[in-house]
């Protein structure tokens, strides 16, 4: 068996000079320190994205993106297609784990200030990918065309519509009209399987090239420590195999979730039915949704909802542009304001999400 692998390697090596790549990878090192565990979440996010692409393509073989057939096609996938239930459940669970993993990756990069000079572009592409991941979630949620998804999309696009001047055009663009209809479904389907994956792949390529080019960032205190005390492990095979181990665990977790908690389909959306009780967005939008519920209808002269959306917009912009205004970290100095702001954001998201689920 081993001989066969060696023969195969030689055969490929003769043609594409694999040894150059192995040598290149062998020279790459990953820092080892007390926060090294967070490095794996980038890889886990990548793995989950690959799963999404594969399961998404499989679902595409049967899914029909129309108002009349979307729900029935998912029903067909789940009940008639061999392992269709598994593919659909994994796609739904992996989507949530992907957002969670990307979120952990983003916060770990933020708290270790890995975005600092010279990795501003890596951070920016990462943030853009994170927003696209939320877009994947929002557009994908509607595709089964069930009652909950329909009303959650209605509420979600309604929120976008309250923005002054640009709100209504955005809402009409997203919905493909004044209301959430079959036109919205077709539009979201297009975004979900063509527009977003296209942009995401380009950004992912840039992101990975930058990571390979610049290597892994070290936390400021590790970077400032004497060279002798700094440890590292080869990227290949040590880090890559550990990454693989992590991926296997995630794969098993996905299988357990898909079997024990199969993703429900619910009732088909009825455009004329009243909104059912308990309409709520996906968990990663919950903190914003809950905040908007707490804000009074009118704040001074500003509409409460508009104020909330603007506040989240500004906070998101500041967060995205952090490498450009956190000059201290770039100089290798500690910046407690950044750390405390991040801690506040994490606590805020957790508390508001819990409150949202309990309400």
């Amino acid at each position: 068996m081993t001989k066969l692998w060696i023969k195969l390697y030689r055969w490929v090596n003769e043609r594409v000079h694999l040894e150059d790549l192995v040598e290149f990878l062998g020279k790459k090192y990953v820092p080892v320190h007390s926060h090294s565990v967070w490095y794996y979440f980038g890889g886990v996010s990548l793995f989950l994205f690959i799963i999404q692409v594969v399961t998404g393509i499989l679902l595409l073989l049967y899914y029909k993106g129309s108002e009349q057939l979307a729900f029935e096609s998912i029903q067909f996938i789940m009940s008639k297609v061999e392992f269709g239930w598994l593919i659909r459940s994994i796609h739904s669970w992996a989507a949530n784990l992907f957002v969670l993993s990307a979120m952990i990756h983003m916060f770990s990069v933020y708290f270790t200030k890995a975005y600092r000079n010279p990795r501003e572009m890596t951070w920016l592409t990462g943030m853009l990918m994170f927003f696209l991941a939320l877009g994947f979630g929002f557009s994908g949620y509607l595709l089964p065309w069930n009652e909950l998804a329909f009303f959650a999309t209605k509420v979600g696009t309604d929120i976008a519509g309250v923005l002054p001047i640009i709100g209504e055009p955005i809402m009409i663009f997203l919905r493909g009209g004044e209301e959430v209809t079959g036109a919205t479904l077709s539009r979201f389907f297009g975004f979900h399987v063509a527009v977003l994956p296209g942009i995401f792949t380009v950004l992912l390529g840039i992101h990975l090239i930058l990571v390979q080019r610049q290597g892994m960032s070290e936390p400021i205190d590790v970077e400032n420590s004497p060279t002798a005390e700094r440890k590292a492990m080869p990227f290949f095979p040590n880090f890559l195999l550990r990454d693989l181990l992590f991926w296997l665990l995630v794969l098993n977790l996905l299988a357990i979730l898909a079997v024990f908690f199969p993703w429900e389909l619910g009732k088909k959306a009825d455009l004329f039915a009243p909104a059912p009780a308990g309409i709520r967005p996906e968990w990663y939008f919950m903190f914003m949704f809950q905040t908007l519920k707490y804000i009074p209808a009118q704040l001074w002269i500003v509409d409460g909802e508009v104020f909330g959306i603007m506040a989240f917009g500004i906070a998101g912009l500041l967060w995205t542009l952090v490498p450009f205004w956190d000059r201290k970290s770039s100089r290798g100095e500690k910046n407690l304001l950044i750390t405390y702001s991040g801690m506040f954001a994490v606590m805020y998201i957790i508390i508001l999400t819990i409150l949202g689920w309990r309400s």
Binding site: Q75, N238, L241, L244, L249, L251, N252, A255, P262, L265
Partner: protein, 491 residues
Amino acid sequence: MEIIRTIPMLLLCLLLPLMASSQSRVDQCLTCHETLGDKPSELFRRDVHFQKGVSCAGCHGGDASAEEMEQAMATEKGFIGVPKGDGISNACARCHSNATIMVKQFNSTLPRNQLEVLSASVHGKLSTTGKEHIAQCTTCHDAHGIVSTKEPGSPVFPLNVTKTCAKCHADAAFMRMYNPALPIDQLDKYRASVHGMKNAHGDVKVAACASCHGSHDIRSASDVKSRVYALNLPTTCGACHANAKYMKGYRIPTDQVKRFSSSVHGKALLEKHDLGAPACNDCHGNHGAAPPGVESISKVCGTCHALNATLFASSPHKKAFDKRRLPECETCHGYHEIVAATDDLLGVSPEATCSRCHRENQNAKGYLAAKTMRHLIDSLESSEKRADSLVADAEQKGMEVSEARFKLRDARQARLQSRTMVHAFNEEKFREVIGAGLNVSSIVAGEGQAAVDEYFFRRWGLGVATLIITIVAGSLYLTIRMIEKTQERQK
């Protein structure tokens, strides 16, 4: 012409004060008009208002004590002449709505909201002229010879009220102006009803128009506030028919409303407010109300239960029932207190209705048929329950079985269809319907079972996958350890 009529009247009016100068407190209007010999003054002598001391001026205005016509009928004395349109009812309401006058002056117990109620009624709508309500007080009570409603002479006395109402309601040309769809034969139907016949014989206790429709507060039958609105009708009929004291002497039961209320029809109508459910009138008729005869019961029930009635009419039971003069539907289902038909009605058990006529040693053919049919319907029910339980089990396990759940409705439909088909009392046809239901149940049960099996297959599959992943992960971990040890040794 008007002048010719007025001159003698004026002369009499001039003479009458001279003749009655010693009777200055006498109603001079009446004195004059009686001399003229006009009908209103003749009728007014018998009028309840005259007897209570109300003068002509009470409605027409003017000065009843003035001997001179010019003074008596002077507009400055409030003379209004003959009230017109809504002025008529308003003239009545001046006293009838006034508590001080009615209670203190006349010690009356009459309600004082008649005009208010009349205005809100169907008769309170605007007439074709658009200037007045359709009906005024005088439309029903007349103008001058008004007597108490308890007096046989009153147009609204129970024996007269039907004719009074029919003045308009039997007039096709008049009714066409307001409600062309409303029948105009109510009085004819009423005369053919039990109520109408007794009324014609002078029974004032039986229902006449006002007993069911009310008097001043009459509303359209489609108005939820109407006494004859479907939901209110049992209470309206029960006002007499559930009153044992009132009904004493008629020798009919007084528990119909109570029994109806606990029936499947009564619950649907009174508890679920299902307007499709029958009220009293749907079986007994409205104006022509009478108990349906033995031969017409299936026709009456068949107006709603059409298929059952058709199947029964072509069944072997039809002839047998006719021969024994048995009421068709009622024999098995009862009347008034008709409970929801269950499968228990069918079969040969003591509670089954079939066993009343069919026994093992008497009418044995029917006995066997009833036994078989009951067995068939029970089989379908248990088969449907099994399928339902398997589908529910699969659903509870999170399996997607909505299609099987949908198909199960066909089995339920077949069971409902078999309950209709039972009225054909034909075992072959019954077996056909049950067979279709059993077939669907069996398919659904198979799908439910397959989903449950799939559930366990998934768990086993997960176990195997987890084992493989664990082995691969363990191997990978050992490989990493081995590689790192080799690397350390090389260092």
